[in-house]
């Protein structure tokens, strides 16, 4: 049981890093990234490729961060002149492009995937995941409580308003993407070493939407909400397995019921608590009273 708890915590921590990264993009800045799995996958594949080449893990981590940042700039390029709705389409496409490339390029392992050295000790994996989550949290916290973060919120609410304040929205979006994608790539590097294997089937659109579910469930714009959301998604997923084992029905019926329950919880959440489990706090600042 303890091993299982350690495993669940590790996964929650990794998914939280992904969620925090998405929160900087969507929760703070309003960038709709439907390709969140792309930097995650880039990080994981970089770790795998470095390991295949016999390089130590820091080389893979560095490669993952550099590639993710470079790709984020590349993806941003066509989005520069478009409104944020198009951002969703471009990132969705970019994520799929990466997956299909990995599937069809033999040097990237193809459908067979690549093996990565695993953490020998699950405790070490948990420690690393928690450390990365803490680092991601710190970065997110610093951003959201800085003047920079406040301007991102202005950008989220009204891009034109931000521009009238003499700020260039594109340069802010670029900075946000670089930070957020590097964060997600770091999560990917870690994930590859936890699971011990990467393949295109691990980086589908579904994974992106799991992160989105965690973010929306927890409360976009609130860092604590994201972590709570990631924990809720993972715990719902595993706890429903235990509940299912007490019900005597055919396994395929139970499996579908489990997913239906997951959907029902989401629908009820959106009906009765659309702001998320831990909603974003409204900050009131009175400049004159200070």
């Amino acid at each position: 049981m303890l091993d299982f708890a350690i495993y669940c915590l590790t996964i929650i921590a990794v998914w939280s890093v992904l969620g925090l990264s998405l929160n900087i993009q969507f929760g703070l800045t309003g960038l709709v990234n439907f390709g969140q799995v792309l930097p995650f996958g880039l990080g994981a594949y970089a770790a795998a490729l470095a390991a295949q080449a016999g390089l130590p893990w820091p080389a893979g981590a560095a490669l993952g961060l550099v590639v993710a940042v470079a790709v984020s700039l590349m993806v941003l390029l066509p989005a520069r002149r478009l409104s944020q709705d198009y951002w969703a389409l471009i990132t969705l496409g970019a994520g799929e492009l990466f997956r299909l490339t990995a599937l069809n390029a033999p040097s990237l392992g193809g459908a067979d995937g690549l093996t990565v050295p695993r953490f020998a000790d699950p405790h070490l994996a948990l420690g690393a995941a928690l450390a990365l989550m803490a680092a991601a949290w710190l970065v997110s916290h610093r951003i959201s409580h800085s003047p920079f973060g406040r301007l991102l919120k202005v950008l989220r609410e009204d891009e034109v308003l931000a521009a009238t304040l003499g700020r260039n929205p594109v340069s802010y979006q670029r900075t946000v993407s670089i930070i957020a994608w590097a964060m997600a790539a770091a999560g990917g590097v870690l994930y590859a070493h936890i699971v011990g294997y990467v393949s295109p089937s691990s980086f589908t659109v579904t994974e992106t939407f799991i992160v989105w579910t965690a973010l929306i469930l927890g409360g976009p714009g609130n860092n604590l909400g994201v972590v709570v959301g990631a924990a809720a998604v993972q715990l719902l997923s595993v706890s429903s397995r235990f509940v299912a084992s007490w019900i005597d029905l055919p396994a395929d019926v139970l499996a579908n019921g489990r997913l239906a329950l997951f959907g029902l919880v989401l629908v009820l959440m959106f009906l009765f608590r659309p702001q998320g489990l831990v909603p974003e706090k409204k900050e009131v600042r009175d400049a004159q009273r200070r």
């Binding site: 089937s201 595993v238 396994a251």
Partner: protein
């Protein structure tokens, strides 16, 4: 929401608390991981039913040394992350010594990594990636490797007198593995591959992918696949007016889109055990439990054999410890006559030289016309 989470937590803890040390009449728990939701559901459900039939048979005969078998079936949603969640629950909480799994290599290998770390047994009934050979003593395959079935398919095509062949397969480990082995065998007998199409799975229409096959007019088309993809593939070929004969690995797992289109034109090689008495007996049991055999697929036999060899290994070892099972498994399979025929493993626990049936689709059914091996 908060209440639900705490309830879930408490329930998980309570479940852990009720597990005590094993007694003689305690059930032996065996895990099953399959894509019960997501894609490739039908095949997974079939495999799971096969395991259930085996469990019924074992328990009806008094269990293994008096201990009944209890299955714990988990859904992988056809996602690597959920497969890992399922496997972690099975190995860490339910403490199963062995799990039987249906899923592609993308799901199977992460689970094999975990099983290896935990020192447990994983029995593969679906994946045929060569990478699975990297887990000797942990992972054992009931499904034969693709290159063996593919080679038989290539030789069959050469024997049919065909001179040219086109390849139309899904871009998966299974599709490419079959295609490469079949092409190599066909070419070694003087055949010529005139076109190679590997389509990306999950699309609604494959006409654009298959179009390049039309102008080269091959004698035969080498294929492999299952589920909705195979249905869409055959539909595209019919609409494009392709008249070549089809040669498939495991033709019975293809979803036929139009029966008249493939009547007398679909051939292939399949595992030859099913037609033997042991396989027939399993089919009868399936018909009795699941209202007829109309939807029966080959995966039932692989699931059945998977649990049967685990049970035989536990009996021989006199213990349900994973290390004992892993040690006894290769010893028991050599004398096991299963629903999929005689099982021969190489040193890595991968199945080699299975009995091969030559299949033809005629009169609306798959008919065995010859046997090899």
């Amino acid at each position: 929401m908060k209440n639900f989470l705490s309830l879930a937590f408490c329930s998980a803890l309570a479940l852990a608390a009720v597990q005590g040390p094993a007694r003689a009449a305690d059930p032996i728990q065996i895990g099953v991981i399959a894509n019960l939701t997501g894609s490739a559901v039908k095949t997974s459900v079939q495999m799971t039913r096969g395991v259930e039939l085996a469990a019924d048979a074992i328990n009806a005969a008094g269990g293994i040394d008096g201990r009944p078998v209890k299955l714990i079936v988990e859904d992988s949603e056809n996602r690597a992350q959920e497969a890992l969640n399922a496997a972690n629950k099975l190995y860490n909480v339910d403490k199963v010594p062995a799990a039987i799994m249906f899923g592609g290599s993308g799901l199977m290998i992460p689970v094999a990594e975990l099983a290896k770390e935990k020192g447990r047994v994983l029995v593969n009934t679906s994946s045929s990636s060569p990478k699975l050979g990297n887990y000797p003593g942990t992972l054992f395959s009931i499904l034969p490797l693709d290159d063996i079935v593919g080679k038989e398919l290539g030789l069959l095509i050469a024997d049919s007198g065909a001179k040219t062949a086109a390849i139309v397969v899904p871009n998966s480990t299974f599709g490419l593995g079959v295609a490469e082995a079949a092409a190599a065998a066909f070419e070694s007998k003087g055949g010529k591959i005139v076109k190679k199409v590997a389509f990306t799975e999950g699309q609604p229409d494959y006409r654009a992918d298959i179009q390049p096959v039309v102008p080269v007019k091959p004698d035969v088309i080498i294929t492999a696949g299952y589920g909705d993809d195979s249905r869409a593939m055959l539909k595209a070929a019919r609409e494009l007016g392709i008249t070549a004969k089809w040669y498939a690995a495991y033709p019975s797992i293809l979803e036929l889109e139009n029966k008249a289109f493939v009547e007398g034109k679909l051939f292939g090689v399949d595992n030859g055990g099913y037609a033997q008495p042991a396989g027939k007996a399993v089919a009868d049991k399936y018909g009795a439990k699941f209202n007829g055999t109309a939807d029966l697929m080959a995966h039932v036999y692989y699931g059945y054999d998977a649990l049967m060899v685990i049970a035989a290994a536990i009996k021989k070892a006199g213990s349900a410890e994973p290390a004992a099972i892993a040690k006894a498994l290769p010893e028991v399979v050599s004398s096991y006559d299963g629903a999929t025929g005689k099982i021969v493993w190489d040193a890595r626990g991968q199945r080699v030289s299975p009995p091969i049936d030559v299949i033809e689709y005629k009169g609306g059914d798959f008919v065995t016309t010859a046997t090899r091996n």
